[in-house]
Amino acid sequence: MTLGTDTMTSNITGEPILKVEHLSMKFGGLMAINDFSFEAKRGEITALIGPNGAGKTTVFNCITGFYKPTMGMITLTQKRGEHHLLERLRDFEITKIAKVSRTFQNIRLFSGLTVLENLLVAQHNALMRASGYTILGLLGFPTYRKASQAAVDKARYWLEKADLVDRADDPAGDLPYGAQRRLEIIRAMCTEPELLCLDEPAAGLNPRESAALNTLLHSIRDEGVSILLIEHDMSVVMEISDHVVVLEYGQKISDGTPDHVKNDPKVIAAYLGVEDDEVEEIAEKLDEGTV
C-alpha cells in the first residue's frame, strides 16, 4: 500500500529503508516475537543474529509476508520515496510491489528447471507485462521477443557475478550446494529488489564457497541494494555486516555495529549461556572498564 510519495528522494545511504516497530507474533500461546523494533539502513548490510529458536526466521517471515504479524508495523521506504506497509500486503505483492525479495533457510530452487529458467521465472512480472499478459506474446508481437532477450541478458549478468555461466543450461537440482545457494541469491536479485533478505546464506558452506558468497554479497551491496541477513556463522557476520541486531527469546537484546555487539555482555551471555547474576557482574566490570 502506498502511503504517499514524497517529492524528496531518499536514496541517500543511511536513510532507513526498513523500519520494524513493535512487532509481535503469537503462535497460539507461544509468544515467538515480543515487541521487537529495529531499523535497516539503505545501502547497508544488516545482520539479524541470535541463538537457535530466538525468532529470527519468524521475523523474516513477517517481513516477507509469509506470516501475518499479530501486532506491529513494518514500513518499507523505496528509493523514490514511496512508503509501503508490508504487513498489509500479500506475500507475492511484497516482492512485486514493495520490492523486497528473499531466500530460504532450506534452499528452495526449481530443481527440475534449468539454472537459466530459474532466473527467468524470477522475472515473471516484468515479462508478463511485456507479453501483454500472454496474449501479445502468443500473437508474436516484437515487444515480447525484445523483453525476453533482455531477460536472458539480465540473467547472464547475474550468472557472471555468481560464477555460474558454465552451468546455465543444467538443471538447478544438479548444482553443488554452494552453487545452489548463490543461484538462489541471484534468482532473488532478478526480481530487482531494493531490500534483499537472506536466511542463513552461509549455512553448510565450505570456506571457499563462503568466500565466494562474501564477494557476491559485496557486489550486490555495491549495486545499491540493501541486505538484511540472518546468520549463525559469527565470522561471516562480523566480516560483512555494517549493522547487527541481536534477538533472544523474541526480544531485542542488542543493536549496533559489529564491534559494539561483540562486546555486549548480554550477547556474550546469550551465546555462552551464563547465569543471570554473572551477566550483571560482567556488566559492572565493563562499566568499570576492567575487562
Binding site: 526449481f110 515479462l127 502468443l138 525476453s148 546455465a168 543450461d169
Partner: protein, 460 residues
C-alpha cells in the same frame, strides 16, 4: 576344480530357489486355482478341485525360477562384465534418423492415414480404421494434452477432468438444438464455457493442495454428471440428447443427406458415411495440433514457466512475486478449454450425448495416459494414448483368441485387466513415463534435456 564347484553351487542355489518359488506358488494358488466353486442344477453352490491346473501353475513358477537363477542371470552378468571390460560406453549421442525426425514422420503418417486405409480397406472398410482407431485415439490425445497443462505442467492433480469434457459436449448439444447455431460457432463457445466452469471450480478449490484438491475435483466431476442425469427438463437425463447436427466443412459443404450442398453430391462421390468420418479425422487432428501448438508456445511464455515453477515449488514462486492463485486459475481454465473443444467434437461425432459417456473411469483413463506418457511431455502422452486406447480397441479384433481360450472368451472384458497390467509394467521399468525428461524452454549455450529425476510431480 573350482569351476565345477562354483557351477554345482549355482545349480544347488537355483534348485533351492525353484523349490521355494514352487512352494510360494502353491500357497498362493491353492485357493484361487486349486479349488473352484460353481452352481449345480439345484442352484446350490458346490466346489470341485482342479489339481491338474494347480500343478501346472506350480511347475511353471518353479521351472522359470530355476532357469532364471541358473542360466539367465549369470548370462546377463557375464555380458555386462564383458561390456565393462571392453570399456565401450553404452550411451551414445548419435541418434538414429527415425529418432531425430520422429515428430515429422508421425505427423506425415497421421495425415496420410485415412487415405491409406481407404486404399487398403475400401471406402466402407476404412470406416473402422478411421473412426474406431484414428478418431478415438486422437480424442484421447487431445484430452490428455489438455489435462497435461493442469497435471503435467502446473502439477495440480485433477481427477474430475471429464467434467469439462461433459460441459463442452452438452454446450454443443444444447445450444445447437435450441438456437440452431453451427459447429464452427459453437466450437469456440463450448471451449469458453468449459474454461468458465474451470474458473468457477478453481476459485474455491485451488487453495486446497495435493490429496484434498484431488478429492474435490473428483467430487466436481461427479456433481456435473449427477446434474446431467437429474436435470431432466434441460438434459433429458439418462436418455441423453440425440440428433445433434453434424459438423460442416466451414459451412460450405454439409454432410446432411438431404442438403443441397451435400459433400458427396458436390464431388460426385458415391454415398458413404466414410467421407464424414475422414473429415472428422482431419478436424480432430487439427484440434490436436492446435492444442500442441498452444502448449508449446505457452511453455515459452512467462505464464508457462510460472506453471512449471509452481509444480516445482509453490512457496518459492510466491517469494518471487508470482500470484499463484491467478497462475493456477489460468492453468485450470486453459486445460478446461481444451477439454471443452474435445467435448464439442465428441458430441458432433457421436450425434448423441448422455451422462454415461462422462463417468469417472474416463477421467481415470485420461489421467493414466498423462502419467504413462510422462508428465509434461507431448510426445510421450501421444504414444501412451496410442498404446492404451489403440490397444483396447485392438482387443476387439482379437477373434483368434477364441480358438485358444474357447468360444466363451470375450477379449474386451479383459480391457481393464490389461490396462492395469500395462500401467504396472511401465511404472516398474519407466517410473517417469515413456518420456521422462523435459525440454528446457530457454537456453544460453545448448539445449540439454532435464532428466526426470530432478523434476517434481507437484503437490497440489
Amino acid at each position: 576344480m573350482t569351476q565345477s564347484s562354483a557351477s554345482e553351487n549355482l545349480m544347488g542355489k537355483a534348485l533351492k530357489e525353484a523349490l521355494f518359488a514352487g512352494a510360494t506358488a502353491f500357497g498362493l494358488f491353492l485357493l484361487y486355482v486349486g479349488i473352484e466353486t460353481y452352481q449345480n442344477i439345484n442352484n446350490q453352490l458346490v466346489w470341485r478341485t482342479r489339481w491338474g491346473m494347480l500343478a501346472i501353475f506350480v511347475v511353471i513358477a518353479a521351472v522359470s525360477r530355476f532357469l532364471m537363477v541358473a542360466f539367465i542371470v549369470p548370462h546377463l552378468d557375464r555380458r555386462k562384465l564383458a561390456k565393462a571390460k571392453s570399456g565401450i560406453l553404452e550411451i551414445s549421442d548419435e541418434k538414429s534418423f527415425f529418432h531425430k525426425h520422429f515428430l515429422k514422420i508421425a505427423l506425415f503418417a497421421l495425415v496420410i492415414y485415412p487415405m491409406v486405409s481407404v486404399m487398403l480397406a475400401g471406402t466402407q472398410g476404412s470406416l473402422k480404421y478411421v473412426d474406431n482407431f484414428g478418431i478415438q485415439i486422437l480424442i484421447y490425445v487431445m484430452l490428455a494434452w489438455g489435462l497435461n497443462i493442469v497435471v503435467g505442467l502446473a502439477g495440480l492433480l485433477d481427477l474430475g477432468y471429464v467434467a469439462f469434457y461433459a460441459v463442452g459436449a452438452y454446450s454443443y448439444a444444447l445450444l445447437s438444438e435450441h438456437f440452431g447455431l453451427s459447429f464452427w460457432v459453437l466450437l469456440p463457445l463450448s471451449g469458453i464455457l468449459a474454461a468458465f466452469w474451470g474458473i468457477i471450480l478453481g476459485f474455491p478449490v485451488l487453495r486446497l493442495r495435493g490429496d484434498y484438491l484431488a478429492i474435490v475435483t473428483l467430487a466436481f466431476g461427479e456433481i456435473i454428471r449427477l446434474v446431467l442425469i437429474n436435470w431432466t427438463a434441460v438434459t433429458k437425463g439418462t436418455f441423453g440428447i440425440s440428433g445433434i447436427p453434424k459438423a460442416s466443412v466451414f459451412g460450405i459443404w454439409s454432410f446432411d443427406i438431404g442438403a443441397a450442398n451435400n459433400f458427396t453430391k458436390a464431388f460426385g462421390l458415391p454415398m458413404s458415411s466414410a467421407y464424414y468420418k475422414i473429415f472428422l479425422f482431419y478436424l480432430i487432428l487439427a484440434l490436436c495440433m492446435l492444442t500442441a501448438y498452444v502448449t508449446i508456445k505457452l511453455r515459452r511464455m512467462p505464464i508457462g514457466r510460472a506453471w512449471e515453477a509452481l509444480r516445482e515449488d509453490e512457496i518459492a514462486c510466491r517469494s518471487l512475486g508470482i500470484n499463484t492463485v491467478t497462475t493456477k486459475l489460468t492453468a485450470f481454465a486453459i486445460g478446461a478449454m481444451f477439454g471443452g473443444f474435445a467435448g464439442a467434437f465428441f458430441a458432433t461425432r457421436q450425434g448423441f450425448v448422455s451422462p454415461e459417456s462422462f463417468v469417472f473411469l474416463e477421467s481415470a483413463v485420461i489421467l493414466a495416459i498423462v502419467v504413462l506418457g510422462g508428465m509434461g511431455s507431448l510426445t510421450g502422452i501421444a504414444i501412451a494414448a496410442v498404446v492404451m486406447v489403440g490397444g483396447t480397441e485392438l482387443l476387439r479384433e482379437m477373434e483368434f483368441l477364441k480358438h485358444v481360450f474357447g468360444p466363451d472368451f470375450t477379449p474386451e472384458l479383459y480391457r481393464m485387466l490389461l490396462f492395469g497390467l500395462a500401467m504396472i509394467i511401465v511404472m516398474v521399468f519407466k517410473p517417469r513415463g515413456f518420456v521422462g525428461s523435459r525440454e528446457p524452454t530457454a537456453f544460453l549455450k545448448e539445449r540439454k534435456a532435464v532428466s526426470g529425476s530432478f523434476t517434481k510431480e507437484g503437490h497440489g
